[in-house]
């Protein structure tokens, strides 16, 4: 029997990316006056967009860092119930190492969220169907805001009116492959559905268990504002209906990316070959600019496959002749290629324990095929998951950054993976002999980031109620 999600309590971002709301802006906030800030949270909790509604005008969601929850007065027992990665945060030194946030991408250089920038306590995600609507919502919230100050504001690029034409800054269609969440109307049933507990706390995950989350003794919630632990302990569940949100501001060197593939595919006479450079770019990504996956259209971009997502890599292309073993999308979601037995149901089951829900928006000028070299543009990478370590961090570390992924030797993710000073190798399987690209430079730099908790609405009200 499918799980019944409490859609009234779950924030809307879990259920949808608000693609119909073309404009978005993310506000990073600091808590100045906890009690006044809680007043704002109480007022905001009634305006919060939940998973039940499908807004066509505007939407507001809110999330908090661990430090933010502490400053807002969440009881110690709840604070101690959060997992280590959320408590110590995205900038802990060992975490920076395995996330690849080193050298130019190290937190010391970050625009926000780093050790030398003002503290971030909360994240307000605001969406509107157009610029005017968004501005109106932002103004309303700004006027109403008390006890909080704006650390920085992240304005996203408007999505195009026609969804089909959306491109991330490198010029590729993005966000095609998303896990289907059990219990949401869109999921239906079938092999592709992932247990709700992988994205929403307080529901069974892919192990059939409830992921660790902050539980409080019943007396810490005298007004019964929180859901009761579905695990049967009788404790109040601060985590239920919540999710963890990782936000990373990724600068994309669009000019550098296209110059690299152009130079790597020049004809012997030195002239550039547009078709071949696009083909190499597609090999790095694993999909063509239209979104068409290489396993289905290996030779050329066939837009009729643009949204195709029902395929396995091992089943169609075990040695990577169509889609290289190291290509970005083949690493970010390896599908049926994992041990112990690629191509088996076990392989898919392992893969399902490492999925993330992506809710990114681009920033900077919209994609055009002849980008200027020095424009700051990129992605506000946003993902949701119930276990940052097993999901977001695992994907980033074990699949994307790992130079030995998939039996490779020295190949980090060619698009987003961490680089050594001399770059990384990209291996393009071919017959009779693979082609190696050595010293592939960095195209994506982390400019900022943070881990947030996106609470359920009841938990938000409880937080807003302040220390009992």
């Amino acid at each position: 029997m499918p799980v019944a999600l409490d859609l009234e309590d779950i924030q809307g971002l879990v259920a949808r990316g608000y693609r119909g709301l073309r404009s978005a802006c993310f506000l990073l906030l600091g808590v100045d006056e906890p009690s006044a800030a809680r007043g704002f949270l109480t007022r905001t909790s009634t305006k919060l967009t939940t998973a039940r509604s499908s807004p066509d005008d505007s939407a507001v969601n809110i999330a908090f860092t661990w430090e933010g929850l502490r400053r807002l007065g969440l009881p110690e027992t709840a604070l101690a119930g959060f997992p280590n990665e959320f408590v110590s945060g995205i900038t802990a030194p060992h975490r920076s190492r395995f996330l690849g946030d080193v050298d130019g991408g190290a937190p010391a250089h970050w625009l926000w969220g780093g050790p030398s920038t003002p503290g971030v306590d909360a994240l307000l995600l605001v969406y509107g169907r157009d610029e005017a609507t968004l501005r109106r919502r932002l103004d309303e919230l700004g006027t109403d805001m008390t006890g909080l100050s704006e650390v920085t504001r992240l304005p996203a690029t408007d999505l195009p009116t026609d969804q089909q034409t959306f491109r991330e800054p490198f010029g590729f269609r993005d966000g095609i492959s998303q896990p289907l969440i059990e219990g949401l109307p869109a999921a239906g049933s079938g092999a592709g559905v992932v247990r709700a507990g992988e994205f929403v706390l307080g529901y069974p995950n892919e192990y059939g268990l409830l992921t660790e989350r902050p539980l409080l003794p019943a007396q810490a919630d005298p007004h019964r504002m929180l859901p009761v632990d579905p695990g049967g302990s009788g404790r109040a569940d601060f985590g239920r209906n919540g999710s963890y949100l990782a936000l990373r501001q990724l600068r994309q060197d669009v000019g550098g990316f296209w110059r690299y593939v152009e130079d790597a595919t020049r004809r012997p006479d030195g002239s550039s070959d547009r078709d071949r450079s696009v083909a190499l770019a597609a090999k790095l990504v694993g999909r063509w600019p239209s979104g068409a996956p290489l396993v289905l259209s290996p030779e050329r971009d066939e837009p009729q496959f643009a949204a195709a997502n029902d395929f396995g890599y091992y089943a169609r292309d075990p040695s990577g002749l169509a889609c290289p073993l190291g290509a970005h999308v083949r690493r970010a979601n390896p599908r049926d290629t994992l041990d112990p037995q690629p191509g088996s149901a076990d392989s898919l089951a392992v893969n399902k324990r490492h999925r993330i829900l992506r809710r990114s928006r681009a920033y900077g000028p919209v994609y055009d095929s002849r980008p200027g070299p020095d424009v700051d543009r990129g992605l506000y990478f946003i993902c949701l998951n119930a276990n940052l370590t097993r999901q977001f961090e695992f994907v980033q570390h074990t699949w994307l950054n790992n130079p030995n992924f998939n039996g490779l030797y020295d190949d980090a993710d060619p698009l987003v993976g961490a680089r050594r000073p001399d770059g990384t190798t990209f291996t393009q399987p071919a017959r009779p002999v693979r082609r190696r690209f050595l010293g592939v430079p960095e195209f994506v730099t982390v400019r900022a980031g943070g881990y947030f908790f996106l609470p359920g609405r009841q938990a938000l009200r409880y937080l807003a109620g302040g220390p009992a």
Binding site: R97, D339, R390, F394, H397, N404, G407, R434, L438
Partner: protein, 425 residues
């Protein structure tokens, strides 16, 4: 090629010298290993090595166990050669470190005296160990990595010049290239096998153990239901630990991880009190030993291909068990593999340890309780103060691919076979 051995040296730390010893270990680690104190790279047969302090602890009966310094290495046989080389090339490091321990000879120490001391402090019994591929020595691993690099470089030179050639032609050109390289002359022959004597003894073991089991079956068969009943009684009665790992310690461990393609894992657990669990743990590890030696000895431990070496060592008269391994990738992926692929096997061993998540029939549940299992491991994980890898950029899968590359370099092949061989690159 030799077979591989798991060496363990343990010595109790002299009272009052623990802090000083930890400073020395920290200083060595800070300089990066190998260094001139611990030049493990000068020893031709050391795959991995580690040094760590087993902190003071209480056993299940509440008795205090003093802190000790442990050296572990995965080496090519024979062990006497390793001790001799260690005493000679790493003598200064041994004196510096084990000088903090009870009854280490006073300086200056002669190498022969060090060897004697090492032999006396080696734990030779109660060890069960796993080797990814039994019989593949360090020299072979290094040579085959060198061969691969040479071939990769050769193929890169021609770049797109290979387009349109047949796989057989590319292979023939590669053969010519390798044959022309005096430093790769070994590549045209098969790697040596472990000694005949050793292989003979292993075969005898492979046959003898089941025969002994068969001979004992008149006793074992009636005992088994009794044991099973006791097991269920214990499993229902024992209280699983609900301890969560300490943040500061998690950080201390994590700060040392994820520098190489592999990581070390070191943990110590207390065997549950009473004879039943002690006997069960020993029996299970005897069976595990058989499985590792004769079945899972070639690249995969029931589907897990990322473990180079692993071992379980009973210490303190079977009151505690140390687990140590060298694995590819991150701790999170390692623990995930444990749960997803070998949970039943780990349950059979670790469920005899105090605090383990509840099992059923020894192998069911247990590790499937993801968070409880991860907490159990985190709480028992030790800081591996000093760790050395002879091939820090190679995963188990890389090493296996390199071996296949060498195996397929010479000899007859069809075009299709040559294509498959070239796909190893």
């Amino acid at each position: 090629m030799p077979h591989q051995l798991a060496v363990t040296i343990r010595a109790f730390v002299q009272p009052g010298l623990l802090a000083d010893l930890e400073d020395v270990l920290a200083d060595i680690a800070k300089r990066g290993v190998p260094n001139d104190t611990l030049p493990f790279d000068a020893l031709p047969g050391v795959h991995f090595a580690r040094l760590f302090v087993l902190p003071e602890a209480e056993d299940a009966g509440g008795e205090t166990i003093r802190p000790s310094l442990v050296y572990m290495a995965e080496v090519d046989a024979p062990v006497d050669r390793h001790f001799a080389e260690l005493a000679e090339a790493v003598g200064g490091g041994l004196d510096l470190l084990f000088g903090h321990c009870v009854d280490y000879p006073p300086t200056p120490v002669m190498p022969s005296l060090r060897v004697t001391w090492l032999r006396e402090h080696a734990l030779t019994r109660g060890t069960t160990y796993y080797v990814n591929t039994v019989g593949r020595g360090l020299t072979q691993i290094r040579q085959e990595a060198q061969l691969r690099e040479a071939i990769e470089g050769f193929l890169d030179q021609a770049g797109e010049g290979w387009v349109g050639r047949s796989a057989l032609e590319v292979r023939a050109r590669t053969q010519q290239f390798v044959s022309g390289r005096p430093d790769l002359v070994w590549a045209s022959s098969e790697p040596d096998e472990p000694s005949l004597r050793w292989r003979y003894m292993e075969t005898v073991h492979a046959v003898a153990v089941p025969l002994v089991g068969l001979a004992l079956s008149p006793i074992l068969v009636p005992v088994l239901p009794v044991w099973a009943g006791l097991l269920r009684w214990h499993e229902r009665r024992e209280v699983p630990g609900r301890q969560r790992p300490d943040q500061a310690r998690l950080l201390e461990v994590a700060e040392r991880e994820d520098f190489a393609a592999q990581n070390p894992f070191t943990a110590v657990g207390v065997i549950k009190p009473g004879l039943f669990r002690r006997v069960t743990a020993s029996t299970v590890l005897t069976l595990v030993d058989y499985g590792l030696r004769h079945i899972f000895n070639h690249g995969s431990l029931t589907g897990v291909k990322t473990i180079h070496f692993a071992r379980w060592v009973f210490i303190d008269e079977h009151r505690r068990l140390v687990f140590a391994s060298n694995y590819d990738g991150s701790l999170e992926s390692y623990m995930g593999d444990f749960i997803d692929l070998v949970g039943w096997g780990l349950n059979a061993v670790f469920s005899n340890g105090a605090g383990y998540p509840r099992t059923r029939w020894l192998v069911l549940d247990g590790a499937r309780d993801e968070q409880a299992f991860k907490n159990y491991l985190h709480c028992r994980q030790l800081v591996t103060q000093v760790w050395y890898s002879a091939y820090p950029s190679l995963t188990g899968e890389n090493i296996n691919t390199n071996a296949r590359l060498r195996q397929g370099l010479f000899g007859r092949m069809t075009e299709a076979e040559a294509q498959t061989w070239l796909a190893l690159l």
